[in-house]
Structure formats: structure tokens, C-alpha cells
């Protein structure tokens, strides 16, 4: 990233993750905007919320399908991925592609969205609005899913905080940990939005919290579209490059995503650091694995929504005491010796 210009890096940041790419783009651009001391126009902020929330729905539905598959419940897997197509249709209609929108840019949003496209995206979201409650009730009633996931890696509020869960995993334990509420980087307060909290904190609850969150994101997205259709305004602001540093926290579908960047007054950032949410979630879940039945391990790891490609590092545990022996980057693994 240090070898590319600020603008070229947006597309590189977007490709850190295949699932939550808009969160990466928003986080990177917010960090650059803080460095430059600018703030995007209101319409651009609303469009960013819309893209981020649609992405959250798609990401959560993807995981629900995956865990259902891990639990041996193939029909729910197919169902979750079927209704996920509606939200992908909406994203495609708004941005021009299913994933990798390339829309978020420094100082705003790069392309305008015609009202016709927003209205048609709204139509597919309304279909989804009928399907999502059905999905939630299927999940709640399903004995297969309940018996496989209830009670697996149950975590209470204090433990969740201690082991370092972030995002929906922490919220499933009742821990109110949401960057959108704690440090509003986008105007969520205008859109009648509140964090979704669970209580039991086991693998099942993590799925339920995600399904509820998807429904809430859908509501936020629909309000957003309504606002975007009724008001107009500029999409970008002018800016001048300058030296400094910027840090941004964004609530990605998996939890808190952090970008730090520093710049001298050139067209390239001089230093960029990314911390992905899976880094925290994965190192938390490995502490809960000892004592679990082998059959429950895929469910436990799957339920934290791991994104392994975002997290190219390896944690080495002691076989006896489960103590963390070393954390090594994947690249250094070939030369690493215990």
C-alpha cells in the first residue's frame, strides 16, 4: 500500500476481503479523510450507510448458510443462500456489480445512483423483508440446529470482554460493543438504529443475533433509500493532500476493523496498518476450544464468522495447557521452529 497512491489504495483495500470489501473501503477512506481534515457530504454518507448495511445482510446470510451446512442442515444452507440473492441483486442494481462496488472514494462516493436504480433495489429488498422473518423462525424452531449449536462455547459478558470478542460475537453475549454506536463515523443516529444484543452467548445465539441484525440492517437500508430518493446534494468534496496521520474504526460485518495510516506530503501514504476483526475473534475462540468435542469444533469456529484470508497469521497453542506459545505471520511459518 505504501507504494501506491492514495487513490489506487482504495481498490487494493477493497480487495483485502472478498465478503466485507465496502467496510474496508469505507474504513480506508475515513482514515484518509481524517488525515486530510475533510468530511464527506451528507448524501455520500447516506450512500455509504446503504452500501455497508446491504453488505452486512449479505455477509450474515452467508455465514448462517455456512454454519447450517456445518451442522448438517443442508436445506437451511440452500434457503439462506437463496434469499441472499435478493440482497446481491439490490447491490448489483445500485453499484453495477455484485461484489467490489468501487464506489466509495476519498471525500465521498464516486458515482451517482439514479433514482430508478434505488427504486428497483428497494423492490428486491422488500421481497427479502418477507423472507428474513421466515428464516429467523425456521432457525429458532429447528431442532437440528438447536441441538448442534446450543451450549457450544457458551460465553458470558465478562468472559467475552476478557477474551476479546468483537462484533456480533460480543453482542451475542450481551456486551454492547458496536463502533456504529460508540464512535459514529456515519450518521446512524438519524436512521433510528440501535445495536442488537443477545443474552446466552453460545454458538446458536451468535447465529440468531446475526439473523436479527440482518433484519435490522434491512430496515436501516430501506429508510436510507427513502431518504436518498427524497433529497439531493453533492457527492464529493474537494481536498488537498497534506502530511499527518489518520486512524479510523469501522463496524465491519465481523466486528471492529481498524485502519491506521500516516503520510508525508506526497501522493503515497508512508505507512499503513490494518487490523481485521477476525484477528481478535479467532484468537478468542481458540481459547475456548479445549475440552470441546471434536464434532463441535467446526461449529464453534464457524459461529464466530472467521475470515481466514483477512487474517494471515498463525497462533501456536500448547497441547497440554492451551497456553498461547507464539503468534506468527503465515509467511514466516515455513522457517518457524518450535
Amino acid at each position: 500500500m505504501e507504494q501506491r497512491t492514495f487513490h489506487q489504495n482504495i481498490f487494493l483495500a477493497e480487495r483485502v476481503c472478498g465478503i466485507c470489501n465496502t467496510a474496508h473501503a469505507i474504513c480506508y477512506c475515513t482514515a484518509v479523510e481524517r488525515l486530510l481534515g475533510i468530511s464527506p457530504p451528507h448524501r455520500a454518507q447516506l450512500l455509504r450507510i446503504l452500501l455497508a448495511e446491504l453488505e452486512r445482510i449479505h455477509s450474515h446470510l452467508l455465514l448462517i448458510g455456512l454454519v447450517a451446512d456445518l451442522a448438517g442442515f443442508r436445506t437451511l444452507f440452500m434457503y439462506a443462500w437463496k434469499i441472499r440473492e435478493h440482497v446481491l441483486d439490490a447491490i448489483e442494481r445500485i453499484t453495477g456489480s455484485r461484489r467490489h462496488s468501487g464506489m466509495v472514494t476519498i471525500g465521498g462516493v464516486s458515482r451517482p445512483v439514479p433514482g430508478k436504480d434505488l427504486a428497483s433495489a428497494r423492490r428486491s429488498l422488500l421481497v427479502l423483508a418477507k423472507e428474513l422473518p421466515k428464516l429467523l423462525s425456521i432457525m429458532k424452531e429447528s431442532t437440528t440446529l438447536k441441538r448442534r449449536c446450543r451450549g457450544v462455547t457458551e460465553v458470558d459478558k465478562q468472559t467475552a470482554r476478557k477474551i476479546g470478542f468483537v462484533g456480533p460475537n460480543a453482542r451475542a453475549s450481551g456486551l454492547k460493543l458496536d463502533v456504529r454506536a460508540a464512535e459514529p463515523y456515519l450518521p446512524y443516529a438519524e436512521l433510528d438504529w440501535k445495536p442488537v444484543l443477545g443474552e446466552f452467548g453460545d454458538s446458536f445465539e451468535r447465529l440468531i443475533v446475526r439473523a436479527r441484525e440482518a433484519y435490522q440492517s434491512l430496515r436501516t437500508a430501506l429508510i436510507c433509500i427513502k431518504r436518498l430518493l427524497s433529497e439531493s446534494g453533492p457527492l464529493t468534496v474537494e481536498y488537498q493532500l497534506r502530511a499527518g496521520e489518520g486512524i479510523a474504526r469501522v463496524e465491519a460485518p465481523r466486528g471492529e476493523l481498524v485502519y491506521y495510516l500516516a503520510a508525508e506530503s506526497t501522493a503515497h501514504p508512508s505507512f499503513v496498518r490494518i487490523r481485521t476483526p477476525t484477528m481478535l475473534n479467532l484468537s478468542a475462540i481458540v481459547q475456548l476450544l479445549p475440552g470441546l468435542r471434536v464434532a463441535d469444533v467446526p461449529i464453534a469456529i464457524g459461529s464466530i464468522d472467521p475470515c481466514m484470508t483477512c487474517c494471515d497469521r498463525v497462533t501456536v497453542l500448547s497441547a497440554q495447557s492451551a497456553a498461547v506459545l507464539a503468534r506468527i505471520p503465515l509467511r514466516a511459518l515455513t522457517t518457524w521452529k518450535p
Binding site: G96, P114, I138
Partner: protein, 184 residues
């Protein structure tokens, strides 16, 4: 029970998938395919090649400053649309091509976008500077945006400076005492 109902309903419905090669995919209006050129509009400023994040759009000298070619390599293009946004004359646009299958790698490179660059040469040292249409575009913009009282003088200055390469331009500016170094 709910799921059973859903399964029974799915039995009566037609399949959601389509027969792909037989039936073409439906594209959204804002679909971003790999970009294509409009040669008549291009002013050869090469802004597209300097902003491309993957190096898919690049400039190649094919005969030592006599002829330069602008190429878009579809194997590297990620359809981000940055070149289309940055183009000052809207010479680039997204195609609606989604099936980029080819039997050979060379087929992907869009060689038809070869644009001729007729270089202006520096009147002092004979170095190639830039294309005629690029200079004309800048001159047009200047005369459009400058206030009436300074327009003629500025265009005269522009003519004088635009016929020089950057190095000779600096020399002339130093000689005239207008170089920005003076204020540094």
C-alpha cells in the same frame, strides 16, 4: 414445519437458475465491463494510465518517441472504473462485455485501442513533449476560463512555453525571472 412448507412450495416453482450460455445474463444498467476507447475524443493526456491501480492501462513506446501506444490489458483490469471517472474528455466508457473467455492470453489485450501520438518536439532541444491535441485541449480550456483582459497575453505566453520541453521551460523561466524558485 415451516421449512417443509418451503420445500413443498419449491417443488412447484420453476428453477431460479438459468441456462447460462444459451440465455445471456441480465446486466444492470450501471454494469462496469472492461473499458473501451473512443479514439476521436482521446487527447492523449494519459491520465488513465497514471491512475490505473493495477497497471492494466499503460503507455508503450514502440519506436523511440515517434509512436506511442496506449494499451488496456484485460487480464489485469479489475473494472474499477477509475480511468473512466478521471478521463477529462469522456473518451473512455465501460463496455457491456461480461464473458471474457479466450483460448489464448493475447486475445485479452485490447490491441485495437492503439492510439497514434503525434508528438510536438521541443523547439530548443528536439525532445518529444506531448501530443498536439493535448496542447490544443489545454489552450481551449485556458481561453474558456480566463478573464477577458488577461486572455490574449496568457495565450501568447502559453504558446511560447508549450513549445518547450520541461527542462527548457525551466531554463526560459529562470532567464525571464518567473521561475517559482524565486519565491522559495
Amino acid at each position: 414445519m415451516k421449512l417443509l412448507k418451503e420445500i413443498l412450495r419449491a417443488l412447484t416453482r420453476p428453477p431460479v437458475t438459468t441456462q447460462y450460455p444459451a440465455k445471456p445474463a441480465s446486466l444492470p444498467p450501471s454494469f462496469r465491463g472492461p473499458p473501451d476507447f473512443d479514439d476521436a475524443r482521446c487527447i492523449r493526456c494519459f491520465a488513465c494510465s497514471s491512475v490505473c491501480p493495477t497497471g492494466a492501462c499503460y503507455v508503450q513506446d514502440i519506436s523511440d518517441g515517434e509512436r506511442t501506444v496506449l494499451i488496456i490489458d484485460y487480464t489485469r483490469c479489475i473494472s474499477c472504473g477509475r480511468c473512466v471517472t478521471i478521463c477529462p474528455t469522456d473518451a473512455l466508457h465501460h463496455t457491456r462485455e461480461y464473458s471474457l473467455l479466450a483460448s489464448r492470453k493475447t486475445l485479452y489485450t485490447l490491441s485495437s485501442t492503439e492510439v497514434d501520438v503525434r508528438f510536438i518536439r521541443c523547439t530548443e532541444c528536439n525532445q518529444p513533449i506531448t501530443d498536439v491535441s493535448h496542447i490544443r485541449f489545454i489552450a481551449d480550456r485556458l481561453s474558456e476560463n480566463l478573464p477577458e483582459e488577461v486572455r490574449d497575453r496568457a495565450l501568447e505566453d502559453f504558446k511560447r512555453f508549450s513549445s518547450l520541453c520541461p527542462a527548457c521551460r525551466t531554463k526560459l523561466a529562470r532567464k525571464l525571472g518567473t521561475s517559482p524558485e524565486k519565491w522559495c
